[in-house]
Symmetry: C2
Subunit: 473 residues, 2 copies
């Protein structure tokens, strides 16, 4: 890859001659920060209205060797949407936000990449279908970004991550070529799986402009329970038993630790305490069956057959009770933000290694300092959010010097168990060094070869996922 050139005024004048004025109206300020406020980016926002305009824009950037940062809803947590070193074109898809077609009978919806996730969910619901991807930022995250980062969320145990929801893609390549892969097919073995290569490549191999998405039947009867488990090993066994008894109808299986409830109290966040005395480990389970079956009965049966693993439990008897239970899980991240973590980790582990990891990690972290740990998350996917906090009464700022040691300790341990240091958030710019450190060398060699093959001038999101050739970090 050769040297990139910044998007300077001369280049912008060139773009204005190629694209309608409407593509240059966005307020740049909104595109230069990210949710955690860690980075301050730079760049000029261009927002095309059609795939053809995206193609024209990329062709111009390719010819001039100007970097392009594809931009969805801006909700990424690893800096994939923020360039700091060189002034890029920020290619926002927000003006491409239409539903292209709904095929309810075949469970397919075709959309522009700039459509917001909540809007896809709503269109699916109007067609009596479910678009199962669901996560905290669903009100602002856009499909293109969700696919580019292979987003996860709450329902992955049942429905898979963003990758599993996608049947086809339309992608504009580095040189402006449009790949029309907007397939509605369930089976198509004609050549390499470029769809899945693009999904999760974080805008470094192409710009997703459209997607053909899979819809699912809506479960007719849902129920939620919060079970007290004796320890994480019991939680893992309960997960296996839930699968044996309830099959694929387990929609969510979330681990909650007492620390999460304590943080809710400490942060003054109102919630319904589910138990008089907060137990140490809980799992929040959601089951969705088809109409005419009883999800509540399935949870009761699970409870009754699991008295060796479960010491107490609440099965929601109403929609309101279910919402109250879910509120606990959904408010924990807010409590975490208010307490202020020293270091947060989005990790995954082989599911049967989770009890060992949860036993060992606090010992290792305890050697660095007297920290508090809030360990919670998507146990059903082996995905934990493992966050480390200062002791009560101290501020995170006191321990900034320990952040790197904490992070390395957690990541080393995860790696030793065969886990991943980025389960659902991606690499972005934050974890490039982690990928280099923990990634299989053959994998990194292949990734670099593919990057060079598909983006020979290195203009697509340079510095994300892989270090840019010119970088010395």
């Amino acid at each position: 890859m050769s040297e990139l050139r910044p998007a300077d005024n001369g280049f912008l004048r060139q773009l204005r001659a190629l694209l309608p004025e409407a593509a240059f109206q966005a307020d740049p300020a909104a595109f230069l920060t990210e949710p955690r406020g860690r980075w301050q980016g730079r760049g000029h926002v261009v927002s095309p209205a059609t795939t053809q305009e995206v193609s024209v824009l990329l062709r111009a950037c390719f010819d001039a060797q100007v970097p392009v940062v594809p931009y969805g809803g801006g909700t990424g947590l690893v800096g994939g949407q923020i360039a700091e070193d060189i002034t890029p074109v920020i290619l926002s898809l927000h003006r491409m936000a239409q539903v292209r077609a709904v095929f309810a009978e075949e469970n397919v919806i075709e959309v522009d990449a700039g459509i917001i996730l909540a809007d896809v969910q709503a269109v699916a619901e109007a067609a009596d279908r479910l678009f199962p991807l669901s996560l905290a930022s669903e009100g602002s995250a856009r499909i293109g970004g969700l696919l580019a980062t292979n987003a996860g969320g709450l329902n992955v145990i049942r429905y898979g991550n963003a990758r599993a929801q996608c049947l086809g893609l339309e992608v504009v390549l580095a040189d402006g070529t449009i790949w029309n892969g907007m397939s509605r097919l369930r089976k198509d073995n004609t050549g390499y799986d470029l769809r899945d290569l693009m999904i999760g490549s974080e805008g470094t191999l192409g710009v997703i402009t459209g997607a053909s998405l899979r819809l699912m039947p809506r479960p007719g009867d849902e129920a939620t329970a919060l079970f007290v488990v004796t320890d994480p090993a019991a939680a893992v066994r309960l997960l296996a038993r839930a699968g044996e008894q309830i099959g694929e109808a387990v929609t969510a299986f979330e681990l909650i630790h007492r620390q999460g409830l304590a943080f809710l109290a400490e942060a003054g966040i109102a919630h319904h305490a589910p138990f008089a005395r907060p137990p140490e480990w809980m799992v929040l389970i959601k089951v969705g069956l088809s109409a005419g079956q009883s999800a509540q009965a399935a949870l009761e049966q699970l409870f009754e057959g699991a008295l060796d693993l479960v010491s107490d439990g609440v099965i929601a008897q109403s929609q309101q009770q279910a919402q109250d239970l879910w509120a606990i899980r959904e408010l924990i991240p807010e409590a975490n933000r208010k307490i202020g973590s020293i270091s947060s980790h989005d990790i995954s582990l082989p599911i049967s290694a989770i009890p060992d990891f949860i036993a060992k990690a606090p010992c290792e972290i305890g050697k660095i300092g007297p920290f508090r740990i809030n360990c919670f998350g998507h146990l059903g996917d082996g995905n934990l959010h493992y966050n480390v906090f200062p002791p009560q009464g101290s501020s995170r700022d006191t321990y900034l010097a320990e952040r790197e040691a904490v992070k390395t300790t957690v990541h080393d341990l995860v790696h030793s168990f065969g886990g991943s240091v980025s389960a659902e958030h991606g690499i972005g710019r934050l974890k490039v060094a982690d990928l280099e450190c923990y990634g299989d060398p053959a994998k990194l060699t292949m990734m670099r070869a593919i990057k060079t093959a598909l983006d020979p001038r290195g203009i697509l999101n340079p510095g994300a996922v892989l270090r840019h050739h010119g970088d010395h970090g």
Copy 2:
């Protein structure tokens, strides 16, 4: 890619110095034909016993620029396992057929790539789990080949194709580098999705030596029904309704045409006729629910609510009855072979386009000749096996001259509906020209760039999927 060299005696002497004698014991004859008897291949069989030996072998081939054809069970139907033009090393995985580990609690099994599918199914069953991949050749097809071709089969509507069953891979690359991607993780967003790139690449990007596979809960209660539908449009509507009522528990949804029953009779294949007068269109449905629920009741309910679509039906009242119904579906390919098709097509279509396709295709084919059509297959996946036969009393040999016209007519029509000319069999060597003809040009350009990036000397299965650089076909 530069010129390849055949695996001559000098090169074989070199290999014998590098690998144990046991790697050179296989009878080559078994590796030089394929199920349909269309090709007669060439090559020298080498069968390593370890990943390390595969690496040594590939390194030697890379250095000498000798082609390698990776070989699983040899059951592929598109010639992916057969080289005709140059003498390659046939790299058979049959001596690497061990189960490496079973993690029943986390629903994972790790295996060598040479293990036979039926053996994986048996190990899963012994652990009270299901490995859902199931197809006619499961007694001889090997996991490495099934993944390399992204095999489909009967249960795809519920469980997905081979791709969906795989969590991680171990792959030896063209130059002998071993990529250890044997992950047991459900979520891992650290870099490009090389796993799915390897899956379906038909041995042209790397040699799969190991796989980490996902197991599923075993359904506790299963039931099968054969419903008579008024026409293909009713079948598609019934499929949607089955999803709405029964959710993801629909395990199979197969279309059968009267011609299939007629062929069973014509070929003298014994079976239980399900209806006194064979109806024109039928769907065979299998439902699997968890224990304690009634799959039979679910099918009865589906039938009762679908009297606008369904005119008659049999719901199996016993295991034996269910087997009899399934035998009809499973014997049809045998009947087809006995009758002898002029041209067979493994196609997929957007599901809602299927009625139109089924209406139009016979008109187009009728212009070529007075042929009989047996259209059946995995309607739930939009995947039809669309086979064209001579008129009764004539032999296929009479119509060999029409084969190409029939094939082109079917494929052109499939393509015009946004369908695929290879739903589950892959490209191999048989459909290279089809991929060039119907594939999106940007897709082909990307595929070639990736091939060159990962296999710069073009030694891996040359001529499969993509034309080899030196080929002029």
